[in-house]
Every structure is written in C-alpha cells, then in structure tokens.
C-alpha cells in the first residue's frame, strides 16, 4: 500500500459531511481534529460530555482556565451562545438522541455496525469514559480510523474480536482509504482513493465491500 490519507485528511473528509447547524460530539483524541475542518459557511455546535455546548478552539498557552475543559481534559474556550450543564443533562443530550453526529475512533468495526473502541483486552486498567453512551442516541455515529492496524491487519471485519463498545451502532466509516457505510448488516463502499483498486481495497478489508451505485473518488486536499 503506497498512498493513504493522513489523520488530518481523514478528519477533513469527515468534517465535510457535518451539516450546517449540527450538534456534534467528537471523541477524545484523533476525532477532536475534525473541528478544525468545518467547511466555510457552515456552523456546527460542539458538545463535550463534561457539560459544555458551544465551545471553540484551545486557548493560547498560558491563558488556560482549568475549570473550562473538554472530555479529553484539554483547555477550551467558549463561543457566544455557549451553555453549561451538569453531567446528567449532558448525557440526556447524548442518550436522548439530541446530537446529530458523534465521531469516534475505532479499534474494529463490524459489518453490522458493531464497534470496538474501548478495550484491547483483559490486561491493564480498563477505562470506558463516555464511549458506550455516545454510540447510542446520536442520529449518525461515524468512525474515523486508519483502514488497517499498525501491523497491516483489517480493522473492518465480519465481526469484532475485541470487547464491544456498542452493538450495531456505526453508520459510516471514514478510513485512510475509503468512505464506507453500514447498511442492512453489510459494508457499502461509497468512496475510495483513486489510486487503490477495488480488489486491493477488498484485500485490506475483513468483510465483503458491497456496491450500491457508483463509487466516488475520495478526493482530499493536501493539509
């Protein structure tokens, strides 16, 4: 495999699908990057589990207020129109289906939409945070991820082998090679890098890629 998208490019692609006015939760770590790439003319309102709606970018170093952080414990700033609320109200927003989009990372995604992103197995200290809540309730649950693991194994599978975060919850996957929907229990390929053949993409994918109409070129700017 020669060409693939950088994390920033995957985040950029995911950002293009966030509609104007959407309420969005970005998982901690890599997904937070999506906020940087909001298309001009569209405004999303970002939610963080610890009780803030409408936050903006990180403050300049040295100007942090550590009572004003996101779920990743990073300092944030507020935009006009922001609101604070407690944790039960925050997860009422999540569980109650009020978010339009949640974008999460993944260890594995199964063709029926099962997601594994919280535990790599029994060793070490388990930690789940808000992941199991976020996969339920948001109208769209999207995953951004490298198409394969660091040692080249498929992350998109017939069924997950790692402990599940949620059952049948993922609706779209943005990978370093493709954009894939989950529909009716299987993967549907929507976009792929022009430089990779369908056959090679399928070889890097652990379950059958279905076609449902034309597959668009996955075109992303240099970032």
């Amino acid at each position: 495999m020669s060409e693939k998208l950088s994390n920033a490019q995957i985040a950029w692609r995911a950002a293009q699908d966030i509609e104007d006015g959407a309420y969005v939760n970005l998982g901690i770590g890599f997904p937070e990057m999506v906020a940087k790439f909001q298309p001009p003319g569209r405004e999303a309102v970002f939610h963080t589990e610890n009780g803030v709606l409408g936050f903006g970018q990180a403050p300049a170093p040295g100007t942090e207020d550590w009572d004003l952080i996101n779920a990743g414990k990073k300092a944030i700033t507020l935009k006009p129109g922001a609101a604070f609320f407690h944790h039960a109200d925050s997860f009422a927003m999540v569980r109650g289906g009020h978010l339009d989009v949640a974008i999460l990372g993944a260890y594995q995604v199964a063709q029926n939409g099962d997601l594994a992103n919280w535990s790599t197995g029994p060793k070490g200290v388990p930690a789940v945070g808000g992941a199991m809540d976020l996969v339920h309730g948001a109208k769209r649950v999207a995953v951004i991820t490298d198409h394969v693991t660091k040692d080249g194994k498929p992350k998109l599978l017939e069924s997950c082998t790692l402990p599940l975060t949620g059952v049948g919850c993922v609706t779209r996957i943005y990978t370093s090679l493709a954009v894939i929907d989950v529909a009716d229990g299987h993967f549907v390929l929507r976009e792929k890098l022009p430089s990779i053949s369908l056959k090679d993409l399928q070889a890097l994918t652990g379950a059958t890629l279905h076609l449902d109409g034309p597959v668009a070129d996955l075109i992303v700017p240099e970032i």
Partner: protein
Amino acid sequence: MDKRVANLAEAVADIPDGAVLMIGGFGGSGAPIELIHALIDRFLATGSPKDLTVINNNAGNGHVGIAALIEQGMVARMICSFPRSADPRVFTELYLAGKIELELVPQGTLAERIRAGGAGIPAFYTPTSFGTDLAKGKPVAEFEGRPYVQERWLKADFALIKAELGDSYGNLTYRMAARNFNPLMAMAAHRTIAQVSQAVPAGGIDPEAVITPGIFVQGIVEVANPQQEEILNRADAAYPEV
C-alpha cells in the same frame, strides 16, 4: 445559527392533526398563552390541527389558553395530573360527556416520564402510585424489599413552551416559578417551540445562567409582555374574543 421564527403563526404552522403536544406551564405560570392562541387561530382558519393529544399538568382554566384549545374541540386526549382549576368547566363537561380522553398521571411521575423521554430512558421504577388504582396494569418490581411501579417515558411531536430570555441558539432562561415543566418538555419533544419574552443575540445569556441549552430548542418567537392566564381569567376573558 438563528432559531428565531418570524411570528406566532409561522411558529405553529407545522403541527399536524393528531400530533402529541406538550404544553408547558403549571396553571397559568409558564403557560405559553400566545402560542396556544396562535394554534387556535390556525384551526379557526383551516380546520387544523385537531385530534391533538395534549400533555400538561392541568386541563385548562376558564376560557383561555388550554381551556380555549379544548373548547374548540381540537383536543382528543389529555395527559395530566390535575384536571381541576378555579373554573374547569370546559374540560369537565367534555370529559363527563365522553368527548375527551384523560390519562391521569401523578405529578412527579408525569415530570419524570417527560424527563425520561428527553434523556433516552425508556422506563424507570418509582414508589409513586404503588398499590393504587393508577398503578393498575403496570409492571411491579421489588428492590431492597420495597415495591416499585415501572413507568414509561413520554415523548411528544411538539412542545410549546414559555421562556423569559431566548438567544439565537435557542438557549433559554425562565422567570421565577414559570420554569416548572417547561425545561423538561423542551427535552422530550421532537420539535420545541419557545415563546420568549425577550429575544437576545448569541452571548446575551451568561452560559452559567442557561436553564435549557439550545440543543433542546428548534424555534423561538419573541412575545414581549406575554399575557398571564390568571389575569385573563380574573377579567373573564375568552379566546377568541366574542
């Protein structure tokens, strides 16, 4: 983002026949009188919406607000805790004539069912109503040897609520005890329309003072100096005026 709606007529334009409607307020405190009356105006002009299910703590008082909505024959079913008031004639007569349905729910259970609808909790257990007629047919379970009744969430197609300040993102504050059911109903409806006594720009509400975050609100319409049901009733008002 700007959730302001131009006027009351537009604010209630999408509510269809048969809709389930949460209407905020406790008696007249926090009751969105102007939104309710706009709905009546639409019904008088078009014949819609009708066959409504209305969720409110009460079932109207006098001949304004919810009482007027019922009086027009627009309401097929009420879900409430206390369908009594100083002047409950409108509801009482239709109910005793079998022309309107009633689901009676204890007040705290009503509040919690609405919150559950907003919070994605399909069912919960409460000690309230155990062993009473209002628990009939509901599942019962014991926890730590004490019996509880299982109650289900309540959701609505639309919520019509009354707030004090509303900014362009839909963030809301409430005036004194006019808060009551309004923030809960905002959470539990597919579309929440708030009449606000003052519309302010984004940033016009301190983020710590927001009671209903804008994510729960789809439209706001400014109604400066809103009418107060209690004062209307003391003046023997009726809607529409004769």
